[in-house]
């Protein structure tokens, strides 16, 4: 993947040194600058140095920020991780909550409205949601700030104030990012729950006179949640890659915007760095999902045996 990216970037039109060349400079000097970025060397030798550095964990120096890529990513990654985790938790918990409510009475009013709503929300593009939220809550009602992560004077705030400041800035982005996910998880969980609900072993338990609450908690939920975990793993990985559109709308300092800006300004080392980090995060979350699944499985197995 990284190799593919490297060559793709190099063969594309556009020149990163453009930015540093004041047009007053003569072409001779321009090539000098290119030299300093090692852009004039043959492709293969560029690739060699690149791979060598990669092995050392060194992505090189970002052209635009003029500091090591790792440091740039370090300053953007924490936000992305926290932001996606918050959104992830919101997605899962709301999806789960609503699914439980609607499963209690299949085809009841709640079930029907939620199902219809989830389909509609799923069809709402996030940029439409984001822009409308800004319009309603920032421009008309003036309740929340429309962009950024914190107020400029947040330095002087106490810890509690800071926390409030952050959450004020994050409410609209979290809603924008999570809305689609809530709908997906809701649908997925609801269908799973319903399926497990009607499985023979559940009927069997019921026939044995077990309490419905007990059955739901100990048997139905674990069984329904299980397949969700691997889905959630993939989703979380993608979230880490950056909730691009949301970050753009709300001007948040996250990986998505970083990557896109890096692509647009032809900052090769930064693009590779970002991609690499996104890939690693995807692998980690998938691994975590597998581990959790294995753990849960045992418990389910045990539960049934008992």
């Amino acid at each position: 993947m990284i190799t593919f990216l490297f060559f793709l970037l190099r063969i594309s039109p556009g020149d990163p040194s453009q930015k540093f060349l004041s047009p007053d400079l003569s072409p001779k000097l321009a090539s000098l600058i290119k030299e300093s970025f090692n852009l004039n060397a043959p492709l293969i030798s560029q690739y060699e140095t690149f791979l060598m550095n990669l092995c050392k964990g060194d992505f090189g120096i970002s052209y635009t920020y003029r500091i090591p890529v790792i440091d740039v990513i370090k300053s953007f990654l924490p936000f992305t991780i926290i932001f996606s985790l918050i959104s992830f938790v919101v997605q899962i918990s709301f999806g789960f909550l609503l699914a439980l409510i609607s499963v209690r009475r299949i085809n009841g009013i709640a079930d029907k409205t939620f199902s219809k709503l989830s389909l509609m929300i799923y069809a709402l593009p996030s940029f439409v949601v984001g822009v409308s939220l800004i319009f309603i809550f920032s421009e008309l009602l003036n309740l929340f700030p429309s962009s950024g992560l914190s107020s400029f004077d947040s330095e002087s705030f106490s810890f509690a104030q800071k926390l409030i400041d952050y959450s004020r800035h994050l409410i609209l982005p979290v809603i924008t990012l999570s809305l689609g996910g809530v709908a997906v998880y809701y649908k997925y969980l609801r269908d799973n729950l319903e399926e497990v609900y009607n499985k023979p072993f559940v009927e069997n338990l019921r026939a044995h006179g077990f309490d419905e609450k007990y059955i739901t908690r100990k048997h139905i939920i674990p069984n329904a949640v299980n397949p969700l975990i691997s889905v959630a793993g993939v989703e979380l990985g993608l979230l880490f890659g950056g909730a691009l559109i949301t970050e753009v709308i709300f001007a948040l300092p996250g990986m998505g915007r970083l990557t896109v800006n890096a692509i647009l300004s032809r900052d090769y080392p930064l693009v590779t760095g970002c991609t690499f980090v996104a890939g690693i995060l995807v692998i980690i979350t998938n691994l975590a999902a597998d581990l959790i699944k294995a753990k849960l499985d045992k418990r389910v197995v045990k539960g049934i045996l008992n």
Partner: protein, 552 residues
């Protein structure tokens, strides 16, 4: 269980709502907050490539002299700064500067002439690639444009410095007006790794402000240095550059009083903001013009063989004039810029009153005249297909614009329609800015739209000289021997009034040839809260001498 869950839900919602009820924190009284669209990359004046970086670095670091705009003259005045006084030699080939002895760097070290010499050294060092690298034309430099320090500087004592300029050059104050950086801080940094190593060093400044905090992608906070020679009690104590990428949020926050100064306000918002009693608006006559570039030569032939062949479509001045006649520039000016601008007809901004040739005026919007000119150049709609043809070739071309610039989008759309009405097929293609500028500077484009900000002092040579190696900005490949001769003459002329006469002659030549379609000069609209006093918006930007501000 049901009530449990209900309680839980209420809890969540109330948690979500609490922050909404919180009041904004009280605003510090003598602080000014301004918004910039993106974070800067460096506060070091060596690398202050973009406008805001320049503004910030000039607030942090003092220069030898400073400039202010003189509206009567339409030119700049020079004031003392780090240099208390100065003396030009009789033939103005050298200047002796009397430096202030009361300036301290923010780490307590004394500022001396050594800092000045060191700054010239760094700015011109090819290893550092500063923003001024290559611009020291009036100095003794070696083959790599590095200033020859021995030949150039004579330090009589730590506060008396003489600068010797190159023989037969025409030096001015602009050659020595840039922020000075501390020698003791950067002396031992290896020049080779300077670009990265410099990032690790905390800025040590000597200007009116010091860098109090820089929160990446959030804000840059400058605080007034009370010990600075530029400081007066009662002046603004803090200037904050808040990063707000979204334009609409900048305007909303300005209205709410969260931000005190916004630059580059869209003309659409002018009337709305005008109604706000807390906000003052300034529409600054600009020195930025937009133009449609018509490549005077054939770009494909030039790329292949470096040969100069007139462009098939735009090689003829009649055609270029016709295109200008056909574009309704007044409509653009009225509807997109809300009349905050002036029609342009040449490369010298109306702000340079003495250099402007007032006998010329912009070509009007005249479709019939355009058709006539095109017909006289051989372009006619022979088969009534709605498209002009000449020798079987259709008049159609692609107009390139850089992506992500609403003004370019708007104007190019109008141009496309206007030209279609006289039978010219236009296809608009947006390119990523990086790609666009690479192609434009490579002279590969046939037709494009861009803008130039013309420098203070006026410098026409890079734009219109016909030897491309000396005129990297002559991307439309304009060639006119008379203009070349005039430009060369300007370079060696010292008298300002003589120069102005020559400038006028250049304008007449360019007016005659219409190498590009000059569209309009754009006013720069700046909106600020009325609480800021002494804010002087000049062509040098709102932050020129910002330390004189006070807050009501």
């Amino acid at each position: 269980m049901r009530s449990n869950r209900l309680f839980f839900l209420i809890l969540i919602f109330s948690l979500l709502l609490i922050p909404a009820c919180q009041k904004e924190s009280p605003v510090n009284n003598d602080r000014v907050v301004t918004a910039i669209p993106s974070d800067i990359e460096s506060v070091n004046p060596l690398f202050a490539f973009d406008l805001n970086e320049g503004n910030i670095s000039e607030l942090l670091y003092a220069s030898l002299v400073e400039h202010g705009w003189n509206y009567q003259k339409g030119d700049m005045d020079t004031f003392p700064m780090l240099a208390k006084s100065w003396q030009w030699s009789k033939d103005s080939s050298s200047i002796t500067l009397n430096l202030r002895d009361d300036v301290k760097w923010s780490d307590g070290q004394q500022f001396t002439a050594n800092d000045v010499v060191f700054s010239f050294d760094l700015y011109s060092d090819p290893l550092i690639q500063s923003k001024l690298y290559g611009s020291f034309k009036n100095f003794y430099v070696d083959s790599s444009q590095h200033i020859d320090l021995k030949k150039t500087f004579t330090i009589t004592n730590p506060y008396l410095l003489t600068i010797n300029f190159k023989k037969n050059s025409t030096p001015s104050f602009y050659d020595i007006d840039f922020p000075i950086i501390p020698e003791h801080v950067y002396k031992n940094v290896s020049r080779k790794d300077f670009v990265t190593a410099e990032k690790e060093i905390k800025p040590v400044t000597n200007g009116a402000f010091y860098l109090a905090a820089w929160n990446k992608n959030q804000s840059i906070i400058l605080k007034a240095d009370t010990k600075s020679f530029l400081y007066k009690p009662g002046n603004v104590s803090e200037i904050i550059f808040k990063i707000v990428p979204d334009y609409n949020s900048r305007i909303t926050q300005l209205k709410r009083g969260e931000i005190d100064l916004v630059q580059d306000v869209k003309a659409d918002d002018f009337p709305i903001l005008k109604k706000d009693e807390n906000i003052d608006l300034v529409a600054l006559k600009g020195r930025e013009y937009d133009y449609v570039g018509w490549n005077n030569i054939d770009p494909d032939v030039y790329k292949k063989s470096k040969k100069i062949v007139p462009n098939k479509l735009f090689g003829n001045p009649l055609v270029r004039k016709a295109l200008t006649y056909a574009i309704n520039r007044n409509e653009i000016l009225n509807e997109f810029l809300d009349n905050h601008g002036d029609l342009a007809w040449g490369p010298i901004s109306p702000i340079f009153k003495s250099a402007l040739d007032t006998t010329l005026s912009p070509l009007p919007y005249d479709v019939e005249k355009a058709k006539e000119l095109l017909a006289s150049a051989g372009w006619k709609d022979v088969d009534q297909s709605g498209v002009l043809k000449k020798n079987g070739q259709e008049f159609s071309f692609t107009l390139y614009i850089p992506a992500g610039n609403p003004r370019r989008d708007f104007v190019s759309t109008v141009i496309k329609n206007d030209l279609q009405a006289i039978g010219i097929k236009v296809n608009i293609e947006k390119l990523e800015p990086e790609v666009f500028f690479q192609k434009m500077y490579g002279r590969e484009l046939n037709a494009w739209m861009a803008g130039w900000t013309i420098p203070i002092p006026i410098d026409l040579k890079p734009f219109w000289y016909s030897d491309f190696s000396e005129a990297p900005l002559n991307v439309e490949c304009y060639k006119n021997k008379t203009v070349d001769a005039l430009l060369n003459k300007i370079e060696t002329t010292k008298s300002e009034s003589q120069k102005n006469i020559l400038y006028k002659e250049v304008q007449e030549q360019i007016y005659k040839d219409e190498p590009v379609t000059f569209l309009y000069w754009v006013d720069k609209i700046i909106a600020y809260n009325k609480k800021i006093q002494n804010l002087n918006v000049s062509p040098l930007g709102p932050f020129n001498r910002a330390w004189l501000w006070s807050v009501k």
